[in-house]
């Protein structure tokens, strides 16, 4: 699968004249792969995945393997499909009408698109953190324990243990341990975001999907979330969508650059930000794009 070349018809692979910055027309489209392998192999395999919103195609034949335990960043200009790809991983796109897909995504070898797949169970294995912190209007403790309570867990010992473990893992325990019964909406934006991460962790997922988790936060809160991502990697596979290229550079092991619904280059972050292979990637990371 890796290194497979696909012929795309028309004027340039990405549907535009690709002269200009690159100074040459590219008639073929290849995704270029050089990801850093993780210690545990691939956890997610995306195979020939395409997605349409009605008549509009948003993803074009994406092939990609996400390495277990590493942080993978998805970058690219607005509308490139990075959030769509992220939401395809836990089938959040099912909630949108007129979405059609082809191809398949595997989590630990199991196909996630199929009529018999337990979508709720899938979303539990892939915790999600959104752009804006979205705590529920309830106490800090109830927020964290929400996934367990939905599952009908009543054992106090289990609940208490999970509460502390999740809040510690999200680096929030010391700040809230004396006010667990307080309404979560009283927390600062950065604390609310860490609370959402704690809630995602409480369900004991394999993968954490983060969709612009810092874009609503100030630099200090952003720094804390980035440090948290660093602490959580290894235990969890993290996939982060970000508009902030510097953030992708700082926190991730591998970076996928997407453009016009296609995966252009997927490789080791240090390489992407020092010496990317595809000229489009170079133009994007150096701010010469468009």
């Amino acid at each position: 699968m890796r290194g497979q070349a696909q012929q795309v018809e028309g004027k340039g692979a990405l549907g535009r004249d690709t002269g200009g910055a690159m100074g040459e027309k590219v008639e073929e489209f290849h995704t270029v792969y050089h990801p850093k392998p993780g210690p545990g192999g691939a956890i997610i395999k995306i195979e020939s995945f395409s997605l349409w919103y009605g008549a509009t195609q948003a993803l074009f034949d994406v092939n990609m393997e996400v390495e277990r335990g590493l942080v993978t960043a998805l970058i690219g200009p607005s509308g490139c499909g990075k959030s769509t790809l992220l939401r395809s991983l836990n089938r959040m796109n099912d909630l949108i009408e007129e979405v059609r897909i082809s191809g398949q995504i595997y989590l630990d070898g199991e196909a996630i698109y199929g009529s018999k797949v337990d979508v709720i169970g899938l979303r539990k294995r892939m915790g999600m953190v959104f752009q804006k912190p979205n705590p529920f209007p309830m106490s800090i403790a109830d927020n964290v324990l929400y996934p367990l309570k939905v599952d009908g867990v009543r054992d106090r010992a289990v609940l208490e243990e999970t509460l502390e473990r999740a809040l510690r893992a999200a680096a929030l325990w010391e700040e809230v341990k004396d006010r667990l019964k307080e309404n979560a909406l009283k927390l600062s934006g950065g604390q609310q975001q860490r609370l959402c991460i704690a809630r995602a962790i409480a369900g004991d997922p394999d993968v954490l999907l983060m969709d612009e988790p810092c874009s609503a936060l100030d630099p200090l809160a952003t720094g804390k979330i980035e440090e948290l991502i660093y602490e959580l990697k290894g235990r969890y596979t993290i996939i982060i969508v970000t508009h902030n290229m510097q953030q992708a550079a700082r926190v991730s092991d591998n970076t996928a650059f997407m453009y016009l619904g296609r995966l252009v280059e997927y490789g080791e972050t240090a390489r992407i930000f020092t010496n990317p292979i595809v000229p489009w990637t170079m133009d994007y990371v150096t701010g010469r794009f468009g």
Binding site: L220, K224, E226, Q246, A249, R250, T269, A270, T274
Partner: protein, 226 residues
């Protein structure tokens, strides 16, 4: 607050530079000892060991470039990385100078035995000490020590001039020693260059700690008055 991963990785760069400095110190000592004791094996070992110094130089450089590209360091972290990259280059050149001394030792072994002038031995000692001290200054961010190293360069230069005079006298007395005299002058010159590189490193330390450029300003020899 800082970003922990960056700081941890800067520690690694620091440790690698220290490792490299220790290798360079050893190379200076071994090259000089090879020259004095006519030790073929030791001279060869110095030349071999330089490959490890070179490999470490490459590793440190690529680590620094990666950190610049991915971590966007600012202020003292930025100065640390740019200084580390220069110190890296200076240290590698010091290793090359030690190799040059080892090569002089190899040439001299082919010639008639003679007593190595104590001045050369003294130069090697000063060069080695300057190497250790400039890296100590870097690690401890010790500006006073950095200025001391700059000052010691004068001592090394004076020893080098002294060696040159001794060799000229020796060669004028007996012209059959000219080849050996020239080799020793060149060896002295290499040791003197090591002192220059140690001075460069010390100047980087002042820049790192105080953000102050003292290169080419004639203030390197002593700490300027406040």
């Amino acid at each position: 607050m800082g970003y922990a991963p960056l700081h941890r990785q800067l520690e690694k760069v620091k440790e690698d530079l220290l490792k490299m400095a220790a290798m360079v110190e050893q190379a200076i000592e071994d090259a000089t000892r090879a020259l004095i004791n006519r030790d073929v094996e030791l001279a060869r070992a110095v030349i071999q060991a330089d490959k490890r110094i070179n490999a470490l130089e490459n590793e440190i450089e690529s680590d620094c470039i990666r950190l610049l590209a991915t971590q966007q360091p600012v202020a003292v972290d930025l100065r640390f990385i740019t200084s580390a990259m220069k110190i890296n280059t200076f240290l590698e050149r010091m290793g090359d100078q030690a190799v040059n001394v080892a090569e002089r030792a190899q040439e001299l072994m082919e010639m008639e035995p003679f007593d190595v002038p104590p001045t050369l031995y003294r130069m090697a000692l000063v060069a080695k000490e300057m190497t250790r001290q400039c890296l100590d200054a870097f690690v401890k961010r010790d500006v006073a020590l950095a200025y001391q190293v700059c000052a010691r360069d004068d001592e090394l230069d004076a020893l080098n001039r002294h060696l040159l005079e001794e060799m000229i006298h020796w060669m004028m007395r007996e012209n059959r020693v000219v080849l050996r005299g020239v080799e020793l002058i060149i060896a002295g010159r290499h040791l003197e260059r090591i002192g220059d590189e140690a001075t460069n490193i010390s100047e980087e330390v002042v820049f790192l700690v105080e953000g102050l450029v003292i290169r080419h300003k004639g203030v390197g020899k002593e700490k300027p008055a406040e």
